[in-house]
Symmetry: C2
Subunit: 312 residues, 2 copies
């Protein structure tokens, strides 16, 4: 049995490769929900949806988000009505949010709704939200913003295009949250825990902030293999590099190794960073060098094999 | 200045005729909101939307509900996901509900949101919800139902296709509701109050149940003109005839007159019911006989003139 700690796109790509080399039913993905938000009254879970859509083969490979063959009738009318349209919601994607919101309003948990959607879309990987309780990433901007000093993750990520400096971040509600049912058990009993190449601070960070998760991972440290989301100093997608620097870390595989050292036994870094392998080792983390850029599902599958081998 | 008390389709048709013969800016429509519901997390106001869409010329004349040229991408996917799809929500219609729900979540009142939507869609009639507070029609069914004895209006109307006997109804929240800002003032200062041919029990009934509204109407009784929604014993649309009978009233213009007698001075009845004019008069209500079936906007305009004349 395998556990994957997952954010959005990077995690979804690795998981899509992983299910080419192992039985999907043997994989449990624990997915970040701190990017979730309520907009237009709808409960939106961007990372869960990205992972679900990608594993269902429905992801839009051109945009990197949303569904393939999506239509935009609702959003066009919402814009005509003068509504908020900065967060683009396609028609089919909206159906997911309507479904989730209705089920939650009926008393279903996010874990249950996630499983229902996965089953409907033919996803055999077991998808768990990190928590059924609300945890929300809040970022304090380094410079004054029209909406105040504190913004939600989606406000920062989508509306401000993650182009503004961040002074600090915290995970609202994390101290009161419980891991979703099955999360700790999955980590405790897994043969291998894979930390996907997701943003260390705003995708993996929230998982670690849910009480009990970091401790469970620390207890399995030698069986935890992470893939660096930083390649040659840069994030392949998103603001991980900026955020690492702005919040006092190194935007490098060594910086990732130091950040993860207490709970990650092995870090897989890209060949472009081979010269930094010793720095990773100096952080106390075993280092494996391999091609990590997942341009195609085949490359993601190859990377998955490297990760499985790294875990012994 | 004119005030119209409005439910959905019948009221929308009369209002569309009325604005052909008077300046729309001189008309205030007070619209039933007891059919409103939250579904998929979205605040849906069926009567407000029907009136707004119709006055904007966007109504679907074939179905009698929703928007013309509507598409169904969201609903089709929601059905594929196994979601609740008994209440058909078109893509453009959904944009209205997203807009309303978001604005309400930001603290706007239903009155404000209604005005914003009307302005965006070019509707010059002043549209007021009967109340900014939640009032919900609940129906107790005469026979056991799988969802229990009590159902919401939309459950009865759409899901059960209003084909089950009703034992009683009440308007949840009405006792604690306040009329929306401007409602009482509009009634108090109107030259004429028009009660549209809407369902007396579940469209006009809720308006009367909002504290202060019935009293305000009673004080203007001689200036209140109603158009009977019952023609030759039948409702032109919907369950008004059934409901009147099931709840102990007559499904006839005389029954309507008796129901409205304390606050309606004049009832306009269809030529088909000319023989019952004396029964209307015996209820203490002045009777005007005219063609009331609004097959075309022109006929609705003609009926509007009759109503205006009836009001002196």
């Amino acid at each position: 049995m395998l556990v994957a700690l997952a954010g959005g796109v990077g995690a979804a790509r690795l998981l899509a490769g992983l299910v080419r080399v192992v039985d999907p039913a043997e994989v449990t993905a624990v997915v970040n929900t701190a990017d979730d938000m309520v907009l237009h009254g709808l409960h939106i879970s961007p990372d869960l949806d990205t992972v679900t859509y990608t594993l269902a083969g429905l992801d839009n490979k051109e945009t990197g988000w949303g569904l393939a063959g999506e239509t935009w009738a609702v959003m066009e009318w919402l814009e005509a009505l003068g509504g908020e349209h900065w967060f683009r919601l396609g028609d089919r994607d909206l159906a997911t949010h309507l479904y989730r919101t209705q089920r939650l309003s009926e008393g279903a948990t996010l874990t249950e709704v996630t499983a229902e959607l996965a089953a409907r879309l033919g996803v055999d990987v077991r998808l768990l939200p990190m928590s059924d309780d609300p945890v929300r990433t809040r970022l304090t901007l380094a410079e004054p913003s029209p909406v105040g000093p504190d913004v939600s993750f989606q406000h920062y990520f989508v509306r401000l295009r993650h182009s503004v400096p961040v002074a600090s971040l915290h995970f609202e509600g994390a101290d009161r949250a419980q891991p979703a049912p099955g999360v700790l058990e999955a980590i405790e009993t897994a043969d291998l825990v894979i930390c996907c190449p997701s943003n260390p601070l705003v995708s993996i960070g929230p998982l670690l902030a849910v009480p009990g998760v970091r401790q469970a991972l620390q207890a399995r440290r030698s069986d935890v293999v992470a893939v660096s989301p930083i390649v040659a100093g840069h994030a392949l997608k998103g603001p991980a590099d900026r955020l690492l620097r702005e919040l006092g870390h190194d935007s490098s595989v060594a910086g990732v190794a130091r950040l993860y050292a207490d709970w990650v036994g092995t870090l897989v870094i890209d060949e472009a960073d081979a010269a930094l392998a010793d720095d990773v080792a100096r952080a106390g983390v075993r280092c494996v060098v391999a091609p990590t850029v997942m341009g195609t599902p085949e490359r993601a599958a190859t990377l998955s094999k490297v990760v499985l081998d790294a875990g012994g």
